[in-house]
């Protein structure tokens, strides 16, 4: 069963006449992991701050679990967990004290739950050390722990992989997938590290200069970006291009790229064979999320 947890409708935000966000809409259902990607300065963190009520919304609406964040803040935010920018914790306290402090602010978070979460993020051995002695990676883990302490159904993570080692990133990925699956959490995760998101997000939103340029399932984005691109390895690329015509382009002396429908490929092959051009291989050009992303955004100009 999927139900909408977070709905952002046409968010606008200006700062001194400069529009930072234009018409940003997002939707997250339970069990979704939405990758929120975009280059620096595109408006990712601002969007997250509007969702969490940390900044005033210019126009538009944020609805969390049916409550408007502007009109009913306390109820809307009650089942949200978040890390914004860095995991800012009280450095002069131990990890456990930090969690204890957070737990006091929610009903129904007991010692057992705290210990459970500590185990979940793998901080059992260092939890009684002061946070100032933690590495950035450990602080990230503690940040995740404080965010999920009260069993939220919406988890918002701003650049959570910052400072994590590959092992940590793998752990975090597994944890998030588990939370989405088992607890039916909706997760919004922003990152530039696109390769990280690719492997476990089921949806992406791409933001560029304050505008959402694409929202869809991950597979669709990739497919669209790569649709009809084939790379053919031949003995003479120049000759092959003359045979095929405008739809092709030479990559180097022995490779050409062909933009064409799938159904058309056998005919192209036939043409080439008839002209005595040798074909060594044909492969569909499946691009990574990163390539898809650059294709969509075409780079970001910070203005």
């Amino acid at each position: 069963m999927q139900n909408t947890i977070l709905k952002c409708e046409n968010l606008h935000k200006s700062f001194r006449k400069k529009e930072i966000l234009k018409d940003v809409s997002l939707e997250i259902c339970s069990g979704d992991i939405l990758g929120f990607i975009g280059p620096n300065g595109a408006g990712k963190t601002t969007t997250i701050k509007l969702i969490l009520g940390l900044q005033k919304i210019g126009s538009g609406k944020v609805i969390i679990n049916g409550f408007d964040i502007q009109k009913n803040f306390e109820k809307a935010i009650a089942k949200v967990g978040a890390i914004i920018e860095n995991p800012d914790l009280y450095m002069y306290m131990s990890g456990y004290d930090n969690l204890k402090l957070i737990s006091n602010l929610y009903p129904n978070v007991d010692e057992a739950r705290i210990n459970e979460v500590i185990k979940l993020v793998g901080l059992e051995n260092r939890i009684n050390d002061k946070v100032s002695k933690y590495s950035l990676g450990m602080r990230q883990r503690l940040g995740v722990a404080q965010a999920i302490l009260h069993k939220p159904n919406l988890l918002i993570l701003d650049e959570p992989t910052n400072g994590l080692d590959p092992e940590g990133i793998k752990d975090l990925r597994e944890l998030l997938v588990k939370l989405a699956k088992d607890e039916n959490m909706g997760i919004l995760i922003s990152s530039h590290n696109l390769a990280e998101l690719e492997s476990f997000c089921n949806k992406v939103s791409i933001i560029k200069n304050g505008v959402i340029v694409e929202t869809s399932d991950l597979e669709t984005v990739k497919k669209e970006a790569s649709e009809g691109n084939y790379i053919i390895e031949v003995d003479d690329a120049r000759k092959a291009r003359m045979v095929i015509g405008d739809v092709s382009s030479a990559i180097d002396n022995t490779h050409i790229q062909v933009h064409s429908d799938r159904e058309n490929i056998p005919f192209i092959v036939k043409k080439l064979v008839l002209q005595d051009i040798k074909i060594y291989s044909i492969k569909e050009d499946v691009i990574s999320l990163e390539d898809a992303f650059f294709k969509k955004t075409g780079g970001n100009v910070i203005d």
Binding site: T45, L54, I77, E85, Y90, M93, L105
Partner: protein, 485 residues
């Protein structure tokens, strides 16, 4: 909201700041109690150095008493040498030291004069010598009452003389002048009667000091003997009241034989005058950092995404500041009591505080613990307003350094503002906080700094300023966009 308050308290008590401040306060209180104890009661006595005598002796040997131009210097040094030598003989804390340096100076001057001038007969010299020797003999036989009796007789004789003059005096100015002289003589007489009656010698002691103080303040009061008090201007009235208060209090000590010479008691009774700065340091440092620090460290985001609206978060922080303020006052109150008691003894604590009530015009006693608590309660508006100022600066500017320094500057400037307004007679200042935030001026019928101020008015002004600051805080905090940190 209780949860928020509990959390804020935990954050403060997990930080080192408060403990460092407490250690400094504890150290200061202990040190100042020890210092007061070792510096000997603060009672006055004659201080001199051994080298002074040698210096004077060497100087004297170079002067020629027979040379008229050098004689004045010679006489002056000779007198100093004589008094110093005598003081040294009896010790500078003896009753004799006081007599030597006051009454005996006259005898000594006469002796020097007679010794070195030619026109003095043997008989005259012998008579002076006899009087001087008699006085010296009284010093030796420890008979201080001799001098008191002498003064008393003199005063009585003078009073009789003046009263005769009064009968024949005709114009009002002369009558007034004589009346004042008689009043001063009566004071002199009373002081000496007390000495004899209560057995209070001239040696440095609390009661001896009380007698001297009484004499000083009562003589000042005597200046108003011919004046209608009702017609006095504000500043003159406050001067009159100050004299009246001190004269009455010292009279009370003497008549009831009360020696308030316990150092720990004095420190405790002046608790807020002595340790006010420490109360403010803790209050202001905590209030100035409680909001701004969260902004500077970025932890404000953590707090603001919790299911509490911002007003609740802000107000619970302010409540915590007030709790810390009250705890600090309680801590200092209790610690001075204990530390002072251990260092200097708890004896003084059994004597009530003695105050002069201007409403009833009587000296009243009040339990010492209640008295100090009452003073604290009266000063609380000032502490709360300065704490609130730190809190406001911290919330609006999110800058801890600014938030801590502004209230201190305000505190330092507050008395200056009052003085300035008094000097230039700026009446509007009564709508400002500085003349209103210390209610202790109203205690025991006391009068405020400016005319027209009443306790209710002062409390109202303080409450209005507090509410304005808090409303401002709430608006700013509520509307603030949390920028990238």
């Amino acid at each position: 909201m209780i949860n928020l308050i509990g959390n804020e308290l935990k954050k403060i008590f997990k930080k080192k700041t408060i403990y460092i401040l407490l250690i400094i306060i504890v150290g200061y209180i202990i040190l100042s109690n020890i210092m007061i104890k070792v510096t000997d009661n603060g009672l006055q006595y004659y201080y001199y150095d051994e080298s002074d005598i040698k210096y004077i002796e060497s100087y004297l040997s170079e002067l020629d008493p027979n040379n008229p131009s050098e004689y004045p210097d010679f006489a002056s040094f000779k007198r100093q040498l004589e008094t110093l030598t005598l003081t040294q003989k009896y010790g500078n804390k003896s009753w004799q030291a006081y007599i030597i340096n006051s009454k005996l100076i006259g005898y000594i001057d006469t002796m020097i004069e007679y010794e070195y001038s030619n026109g003095v007969t043997e008989a005259e010299y012998n008579e002076a010598k006899k009087a001087y020797d008699e006085a010296l003999g009284k010093l030796d036989s420890d008979d201080w009452k001799y001098f008191a009796n002498q003064d008393l007789e003199l005063a009585n004789a003078s009073i009789k003389e003046q009263k005769k003059l009064l009968e024949t005096a005709e114009d009002q100015d002369t009558i007034n002048s004589i009346k004042q002289t008689i009043a001063n003589l009566e004071t002199e007489k009373r002081v000496n009667e007390w000495r004899l009656e209560k057995d209070i010698s001239y040696a440095p002691s609390f009661l001896n000091n009380a007698i001297n103080q009484y004499y000083m303040y009562q003589t000042s009061l005597n200046e108003y003997i011919n004046t209608d008090i009702e017609t006095l201007a504000t500043d003159e009235l406050s001067y009159y009241k100050e004299n009246l208060e001190n004269a009455s209090l010292n009279k009370y000590y003497i008549e009831n034989n009360i020696s308030l010479d316990s150092n720990s008691r004095n420190t405790f009774i002046n608790l807020f005058a002595n340790y006010e700065l420490f109360i403010l340091v803790v209050g202001i440092v905590i209030a100035g950092s409680i909001v701004s620090e969260e902004f500077n460290r970025g932890t404000i985001k953590l707090l603001l995404v919790k299911p509490y609206n911002r007003i609740k978060i802000l107000l619970s922080k302010f409540i915590v500041c007030l709790i810390i303020l009250v705890l600090t006052i309680a801590f200092i109150y209790a610690f001075q009591l204990v530390a002072g008691g251990i260092i200097d003894g708890f004896d003084g604590m059994t004597t009530d505080a003695i105050v002069y009530n201007f409403d009833t015009n009587k000296v009243e006693t009040i339990n010492i613990f209640v008295y100090v608590g009452l003073i604290g309660l009266c000063k609380l508006p000032m502490y709360i307003l300065l704490t609130a100022l730190a809190f406001t600066c911290g919330t609006i500017f999110t800058n801890t350094a600014l938030a801590v320094s502004v209230p201190f500057l305000g505190y330092i400037a507050s008395s200056l503002i009052n003085q300035f307004a008094l000097y230039y007679n700026i009446k509007q200042v009564i709508y400002f906080v500085t003349p209103n935030w210390d209610l202790s001026c109203y205690l025991f019928g006391g009068s405020p700094l400016f005319e027209g101020l009443t306790p209710i008015f002062s409390i109202a002004i303080c409450v209005i300023y507090l509410i304005v600051m808090l409303v401002l805080d709430c608006i700013v905090f509520k509307k603030r966009d949390i920028k990238n940190i």
